[in-house]
């Protein structure tokens, strides 16, 4: 049973570290902040959660605190990424080679409607 737990922990550590390495590499290499957020979202959701699975199977931790921290990470990661990207779009940071920008069109339409009603 100890071998199985150690095997699961080794597998989770290797996969989680690979996700973190790929995320940091994408943060260095990708061109604009929105694409960088796409890469760094993987570190919080996959890297840390898989390392927590490894810690919960191996150490005398109990799954309660590990599942609480996993839920915090899974809920907080996408919310903070959305907040950062929304703030970056609000201060008009440029996108590299955008095909279409739906949010910008919606904001323009909304501001023109407000001017029309006022």
């Amino acid at each position: 049973m100890t071998e199985v737990r150690a095997f699961i922990a080794i597998l989770a550590i290797i996969i989680g570290t690979l996700f973190s390495l790929i995320g940091v590499l994408g943060m260095i290499r990708l061109p604009d902040p929105y694409a960088r957020l796409h890469a760094t979202g993987k570190i919080g959701v996959y890297g840390s959660v898989l390392l927590l699975v490894a810690a919960a199977t191996w150490t005398p931790l109990g799954w309660g605190r590990a599942i609480f921290l996993i839920v915090i990470l899974i809920v907080a990661g996408p919310v903070s990424a959305h907040a950062i990207s929304s703030a970056a779009h609000r201060i008009n940071l440029p996108m590299k080679d955008p095909i279409r920008d739906d949010l910008l069109e919606a904001r323009k339409r909304e501001s023109s409607n407000v001017e029309f009603f006022e």
Binding site: L37, A54, I84, R90
Partner: protein, 101 residues
């Protein structure tokens, strides 16, 4: 059974070695992210880096709990993750509206 204890010992040594290598990699990644914040192409990139440093620090605490075989580091990582979430939300609000409240 003579072979079973040996296998268990080998797996434990392998796990500790792999966790130590992963710990060194994560500390190197945190150095890269701190350099990235210092370079700072745009203001949103610095905010991404501040969010990412705390996430990598949570990973470092979890790996320390595996290496040291101690669960006290999970208790340290728990409020760190919660405070990082709140501070990232507040800083993004400040970046977008130029005021917090």
């Amino acid at each position: 059974m003579p072979g079973e204890g040996g296998t268990r010992h080998i797996m434990r040594e392998l796990l500790i070695n792999i966790a130590t290598i992963a710990l060194v990699l994560h500390i190197g990644m945190m150095g890269v992210v701190v350099w990235y914040i210092w370079r700072g192409k745009t203001i949103a990139d610095r905010l991404i880096g501040v969010d990412l440093v705390t996430t990598v620090l949570v990973s470092i605490f979890v790996l320390l709990s595996i290496v040291q075989f101690d669960s006290i580091f999970i208790d340290l990582a728990l409020p760190l993750a919660a405070l990082a979430f709140i501070s990232t939300i507040a800083l993004a609000k400040y970046l977008a509206d130029e005021q917090v409240f």
